[in-house]
Symmetry: C2
DNA sequence: GTAGATGCAAACTGTTTGCAATCGG
DNA sequence: CCGATTGCAAACAGTTTGCATCTAC
């Protein structure tokens, strides 16, 4: 039995074929609330379908980004993380442990559509700080 | 004759020694309005002092970031760029050619000092779009 | 059957590091 | 003079690519 999978539908519409690898990657992404890196996606995918290669994960993530189905986030030296939420929202990033959380604030209202001659298409707001756990424990950083 | 160099003073204050390499790197940074990457800093430094190594540039940039004298910016897949402006401001990034411009807007007013239990310390706002040149020319991207 | 997808390993890019030689204070 | 700084080359991490094999349709 094949679970419904929004991303599968989209892929099919765009003429891509649906392989077990892709299906699994999509399922992992759709259930991901923690902005996983490519490697984290890979690990989780392998837990369900052990022989998927990291290269396939990278290729698939790139396709999805190109199709506008997920976003790639690059905050300060981190590896890329992938975000299945496409609506306008902001991020809180812990400088201690690297945790990245969504916040629903949408600052679209302040976005100029034109600025310095630029045609502005989208914006990104990131708040950097310390998450609750990192405030409690040592003030130094822990993980990177 | 040795030009005055704000960053040199700071370094000296912090007990670092002032070498010709560092002095040149600082001068390049202080005159940089285009958010150069490490490699771009290196090129410009070499134009003035030909034997400086890229490793030295990286080490020096890292020191400055650690000392809080410059900022490191990481936007979407780009290599790191370095910004000598430390006051609160935002950025406009052209998705065509990669050009990165400052905008003076300071959205500090909307920054919550506390959110989801996070202690928020700073924020970053980036607007993505097309610069005037890229609007005129082909709609496709050019440089990355 | 065939175009497209996969997996592997090798290549690449940006960045960091170990270490011997060198230099600033 | 001595510890800090440099340059080199090698190491690294994350990501991408070439290509032979395999698979969805």
């Amino acid at each position: 039995m094949e679970t419904a999978c929004a991303l599968c539908e989209r892929l099919r519409d765009n003429g891509y074929s649906i392989t077990p690898q892709r299906r699994t990657i999509f399922e992992v992404l759709e259930g991901a609330h923690h902005h996983p890196s490519a490697e984290e996606v890979h690990e989780e995918v392998r837990r369900r379908l052990p022989d998927v290669s990291l290269a396939t994960v990278y290729k698939t993530l790139k396709e999805l980004v190109a199709m506008g189905e997920i976003r790639e986030l690059n905050f300060h030296g981190d590896r890329s993380r992938f975000d299945p939420r496409m609506d306008s929202h902001s991020h809180l990033k812990c400088e201690g442990c690297g945790r990245l959380e969504d916040i629903d604030d949408d600052f679209a209202a302040l976005v100029p559509s034109q600025r310095h001659g630029f045609r502005v298409k989208r914006h990104e707001v990131v708040f950097y700080g310390q998450c609750p756990d990192c405030q409690k424990s040592a003030p130094a950083s822990r993980k990177r």
